[in-house]
Structures are given as C-alpha cells and as structure tokens.
C-alpha cells in the first residue's frame, strides 16, 4: 500500500521512499524517512494535493509524490 491510498483520518508507518533525484531527496529531508509514523489529515478541495501530519508538523505533498511512499501497518477505519 502506498501513502496516496490512505484515507483521511488514517495513518501508517513508512516502509520505503521511492522516486529519484530532487523529489526523493526533498521527501527524505522533510522527515519522510522509513519507520516514521504519518497520518493523512485531509485532501485539498480539488482532490489533490494531500495534507499529512508527521514529526509534529503539517506537510502537504501531491498524490503523485505520495504514490512513491510505500507504507506498512496501515490503520484504516
């Protein structure tokens, strides 16, 4: 399961971060590293991007980017 598939209000733990170059580096730099707990807070009005909560701050990334983050231990209501 990837991060973009998680419904708002649910969360999980990052297994691995895909992608390459600047994008991947940016995701890692912002704290989206393996073993980190992430919660999906909401989806923007037009359906994209999505709002995340991790390391006690709020981050927004696009769905395409979220699709590169593989999750585990996902809790889905």
């Amino acid at each position: 399961m990837t991060l973009d598939m998680i419904k708002p209000g649910n969360g999980g733990i990052i297994k691995s971060v895909g992608g390459e170059g600047i994008l991947r580096r940016r995701l890692l730099d912002m704290g989206l590293t393996p073993k980190t707990r992430v919660e999906v807070r909401k989806v923007a009005p037009m359906g994209d991007p999505i709002e995340l909560f991790l390391r006690s701050y709020v981050l927004t990334i696009r769905r395409d980017e979220a699709a590169k983050i593989v999750m585990e231990e996902v809790t889905n209501k």
Partner: protein, 670 residues
C-alpha cells in the same frame, strides 16, 4: 565591520521576525550574486561591529534548490564568524535536520530555540541544557515575536563568536555510514584543506555523491572510483541507498536527542487551533469560495473603497505641487523648454506613476497579513491543482490574481515564491492578466464600436489574457523552463497573528522600492518620452505633436500593424506612449485626433479602425509589454536588464501573433 553573522533556519521558523528584532531598521536588501534570491543584511542593534546576513529559509543543505546552493556558498566562501541557527521549538525534529548539516561546516554556532512560549503554554517542555550538551552547541530559548530571550541570545552569540567556539565534533553517525565517512575523510583530507572545505562536510557530501564538492575538491577519477566503491559497500551492508541512509541516520540521531530532551504531551495550542481553522479555510466545498471571497475583499478595499479615494488625494497633492513648481519656474523666467521638460515630462511621468503608491502600500499590507498569518501556504494547498498543468504551483495564484489589479505589485509579490523557477515564470505570465489601467482603453474602444456589447467584449479580453497565460505557461514549461520543477513538498505552518512590526516593515520596504523605481528608471523614461514628443528631427520644439519625433516613429512603425488591421500613425504612436502607463493610450489618441468630445472621438476612431481591427488593437494592448513601472519591477525581480528586455520582447511578439490570428480569422469569418 569586524564580525559577520549568518542567520540560518527553516522557513516559518520566525527567521524574519528575529532578524528584525536583532537589527531594527538598520537593514539593507539586495540580491545574492547571480541569482534573484533576496539577501538582507543589517547591523546588529547595540553591536556596531557585527553584521547580520539573513540567509534563505531552507530545510536542508542538499544542493538541489538555488536557495540551498546560495546558503552553502555563502557559508563556505564568506566564512561567517558565527551561524545563528533559528529553530521552531514546536517542531524540533525537522528543524534539527538542518542543524546537523550546518554543524558539519565547522563554524561557531548558536541555536536560537524560537517559539518556546508556545511550547510552555501547551504544557510541553524542552530541556535546553540537555539539548545543548547533546548537540555540543549553546542553545538559547527565545520567543522572537514576544521579544523574550533576545538579549540573552545576543550575549551568548557574542561570547561564542569571540571564543571562536566550534560545534563539538559530532558522532551522530553509527556503523556503516560512519565507516564510509571516515574512510572518505582520510582519502580527501589534503584536498579539503587546500580549498579550505570543512573535512567532515566534504566527506558527507561525497558520500551523497554531491557534484559541487567533487568539482571544488578536484576529486580525481581514481578517487571517485574508490569513493563509489566505499559507498556501494555501505549501501549493500545497510540494504538501502546512500540518500536514504544519510537522511535516516540524521533523523535517528535527532529522535534519540529528542527522546531525552523534549517532553511532548500534546500538540501546541496553536497547532490545535490551526487544525480547527483549517476545517473551514481548506474545507472541501468552502475552501475555494472563501479564498476568492478574501481576494475579492482585498481587491475591493485596495482598488475601490480605500485605495481609490487615497489615490485621488495623492493625485491632487501631486497636482498642487506640480502647479507650485510650474509657477515658480515661470516666475524665474527660465525658458519654456525647461518648463515643459520639468512639468510635462518629469512631473507628468513620475507623478502618474507615484500616484499608484497608495495602492501598493495597501496591497502589501494585505499580502503581508496573508503571508505572515500562514494563509498563503493554504492558498497554495487549495489552488495547486489548478496551476500544476502549466508547470506552476498553487503559490503563483496570488501574484497572478493581483495582476488583474496592477502588474507592478503583482510582480513585486512574486518575491514570496520559494522557487526561483516558479518566480521567473510567474513574472513573465502575470502581465497577461488584464490590469485595471487597461480598462479606460477598453472603455474608449467599446464605446466607439460595440456600445451595446461592451461587457461581453471586455469579458472576452479577460479570457484571452488568461488563455494566453495558460498557453504561454505550457510553452515556457517545455522550452525555457524545462527541467525539473521544484517538487511541491510544502509545510503548512500553524496560523499565527502577524506581528505589526513585520507588516509595517514589509509595507515600508515595498513602498521605498517603488519610490526608488519612480525616481530612477521612470524618471529617465519620462524625460525620453517627453523629448520624443516635444521635438522634431532637427531638434526644434514643435507645437503640433503630429510633427514630433514620436509621431514620425509612429508613422514609421504603423505599417507593421497592417496585418492586424490598423495602419494609422496615431494608433501606433498611442501604443508607444502606452508604455509610460496604459491609460496614456487613451489620452494620446484623444490628443492626436484632436477630438474635443467623446462623440467626435468615436467618429474619428471609426475612420482609423474597423470593428474587427479595433478588437485586434484591444487584444494587442492587452498583451504587449507592460508599462515602464511594471518593466522596472520585472527588471528588479529578475535581477537582470537583459532578461527583462527578453521578457518584454516575448510579451510583445505574443501580443502581435495573437492579435494577428484574431484579425485574420475574423476576416475569414466576417
């Protein structure tokens, strides 16, 4: 100046507030060499010997964005005496990520732990002493917005700077990463020393495969081979790649430190409040209408309710001064030419631009509120999808909207865009938004040709502007601005009440910026246009503007517009004077046609244009290069006269092509 301090930190960490608190009004704003990234400098209050340089807000030192490269270059090449690293205490983990990288640069460092008031008010705590001991750097808790801890911070900064106390050597890497950094350190020690690169930083960067470091250190093929081998071994042993390994290593270390020093029972009150506010402001259905509502309100106040009367008062004031100076010159008995130069040239030109000052100040008052409160980031979140297709992110939406009011503040507002690429592209596209100064032209032409369909004609013009901006964006995205856009990975900071000082200083900066433009580039342009309007080719003063140099240039270029359906020197001359301010198209056409009433003007215009060619004329006016004031703003924000010229040429050529297409297709249909 004997000491240089650099202020570094994440975006939204309160960096600007702290900078203002430390330097007061002693600021100088410029650009970093070669880029359009703002560089603010200021002398520290009560420490005349210390200069503070505000570095761009960044999250990491990976050299992917211009902001990161600029920060890196500044620290490595200018070697400041000390780095003040500001950290948002409510979000300490991610902020420390940059800290760990800054520490590798072997420069004395002090951490300003900002927003400690919020941490404490929420019942959480940070053990400052433990944090300081674990990091090996002095840590001072502050609240920049409430002015708490600032003098303590300065004491620690001065002490650390004079002692030249470097960050304690860090061992935040363990196992395989440590092994790799260690062996690469040995390999490159001499080279790093030669170019005065901090060894630890160089080694880490080489593990990351950093191109700049490879070049700066003159790493040989052979060494590169060994380095690659070491990195491969590390990756194999860890079962992950180098970038993930290093990021993971830094964050793991940070987590360890935070587990010891940070007590967090709950989110801060500000974070809880923000989540509630966002339930409304970024709501699935209300989010977008609310955004447009806010923008409408700002427009209405700026260009209507408050701005317009203020602008009138300003114009009257300028008129009074102009009158006064005019009578002084006449009384002094100086020649008529000088009188005309000062009054018709300089005062008219500079005055008409200066009258926009109230609008600029009001608009930037609101923009500062949007930016400092944290709402601008939500705008990006809400509107991102709409702009993505043309290669921009949601952040560009606000400058573009302001463009419907006036291109000048719109272009100035691009300063807040965090990516240089987005900034440049937005600057090029914004003038396609039909600004309010073009309305009088639309009014004049529709009155003469489309009296019953004025509204429809105007709406189509607004849409053509937007459409051209979209197509232009697509074109630029795949040509000039090809390459990777900066990914949209953005923090949504907690909402905060903007500080009055920051808002006022921002308004003051923008106002001064604008006034400076009025008295430099616009001053010169006004004189040039006056000269062309008042003299003929043999430098004799003309009384009939039809005989002026400008008019003859107008006649000369008139045939260029023949394919667009109008081949009249008065139309082309009006397009030239329209460069001083778009409204001037109306006044020039009125003067050159000698019309004394609106009805007469309409009649004469019917001789110059057909309805179709008048529409082509409007399309051209809509899209061609913006007025001198906007051009000056473009030059300032692009940081280059050359690129500003290229932009203007691009806009004018686009205008020509679109107007041509409109006219030619129109001819076929009609």
């Amino acid at each position: 100046m004997s000491l240089i301090f650099a202020l570094a930190g994440n975006q939204n960490s309160g960096k600007t507030t702290l900078f203002n608190k430390l330097t007061g009004s002693n600021q100088h704003v410029g650009n970093f060499p070669g880029v359009t990234i703002e560089k603010k400098e200021g002398i520290i209050k009560n420490h005349k010997e210390a200069l503070l340089v505000d570095l761009p807000g960044i999250y990491s030192l990976s050299p992917y964005t211009m902001e990161e490269v600029v920060t890196r270059d500044f620290i490595l090449k200018e070697k400041p005496d000390l780095i003040i690293n500001i950290i948002d205490a409510t979000n300490i983990e991610r902020n420390l990520y940059l800290t760990l990288q800054l520490m590798e640069l072997s420069i004395p460092m002090v951490i300003a732990l900002n927003m400690m008031d919020e941490v404490i008010a929420s019942g959480n705590s940070v053990d400052v002493i433990k944090l300081s001991n674990n990091l090996g750097i002095p840590v001072v808790p502050i609240s920049a917005s409430k002015n708490q801890g600032i003098s303590e911070l300065m004491d620690v900064i001065m002490k650390t700077a004079y002692e030249k106390r470097q960050p304690r050597k860090l061992d935040f890497c363990t196992g395989e990463v440590h092994k790799a950094i260690h062996s690469i350190s040995h390999l490159i020690e001499d080279q790093a020393k030669k170019v005065a690169y901090p060894l630890r930083f160089a080694a880490t960067k080489l593990v990351e495969g950093d191109e700049i470091t490879i070049k700066e250190l003159n790493i040989s093929e052979n060494q590169l081979h060994i380095i690659n081998h070491v990195v491969e071994d590390m990756e194999n042993a860890l079962g992950t790649d180098k970038e993930a390994a290093l990021a993971d290593m830094r964050y793991s270390y940070i987590e360890k430190i935070c587990a010891e020093a940070v007590v967090k029972h709950q989110e801060t009150l500000e974070q809880i409040r923000s989540e509630k506010v966002d339930k409304i402001l970024t709501h699935k259905y209300f989010g977008i209408p609310i955004f447009f509502g806010i923008m409408f309100l700002i427009f209405w106040i700026t260009f209507g309710a408050v701005g317009a009367p203020l602008q009138e008062i300003f114009e009257e004031g300028i008129a009074v001064i102009t009158e006064l100076v005019s009578s002084l010159i006449i009384d002094a008995g100086v020649s008529e030419v000088i009188h005309s130069l000062v009054i018709d040239g300089i005062f008219a030109g500079v005055g008409s631009v200066l009258s926009f000052l109230p609008l600029i100040v009001i608009l930037f008052f609101f923009l500062s509120l949007l930016e400092d409160s944290g709402y601008m980031a939500r705008v990006a979140f809400v509107m991102d999808k709409a702009l993505r297709k043309i290669g921009l992110s949601g952040r560009s939406f606000v400058p573009m909207l302001i463009g419907f009011g006036c291109s000048v503040p719109a272009i100035m507002a691009t300063r807040t865009l965090s990516s240089e690429r987005d900034r440049k592209m937005t600057i090029v596209l914004t003038p396609f938004m039909s600004c309010s100064a073009k309305l009088p032209i639309y009014g004049m032409i529709t009155m003469a040709f489309f009296p019953n369909n004025a509204a429809i004609i105007m709406i189509t013009l607004y849409f053509i502007g937007i459409l051209v901006a979209i197509l232009s964006g697509l074109l630029l995205k795949s040509t000039v601005f090809k390459g990777n856009p900066v990914p949209f990975v953005m923090e949504l900071p907690a909402y905060r009440i903007p500080s009055a000082t920051s808002v006022v200083m921002h308004m003051y900066d923008k106002a001064m910026d604008f006034v400076k433009k009025a008295f430099t580039i616009i001053f010169i342009a006004s004189i040039a246009i006056w000269f062309l309007q008042s003299f003929d080719w043999s430098f004799n003063l003309v009384d009939d503007s039809a005989k002026s140099v400008l008019a003859s240039i107008g006649s000369l270029i008139a045939p260029i517009f023949k394919p667009l359906g109008f081949n009249d020197w008065r139309a082309s001359t009006a397009l030239i004077t329209g460069l001083t301010a778009k409204e001037a198209v109306v006044s020039t056409l009125t003067v050159l046609t000698g019309a004394v009433s609106d009805v007469e003007l309409s009649l004469i215009l019917n001789g110059i244009f057909t309805p179709l060619s008048s529409y082509a004329f409007l399309v051209f006016t809509l899209l061609y290069m913006p007025c001198i004031a906007a051009f000056a703003a473009t030059k300032r924000e692009l940081g280059s006269f050359k690129y500003a010229i290229i932009t203007a040429v691009y806009q004018t050529v686009t205008a020509y092509i679109v107007a041509l297409v409109v006219y030619q297709i129109g001819t076929i249909i009609i």
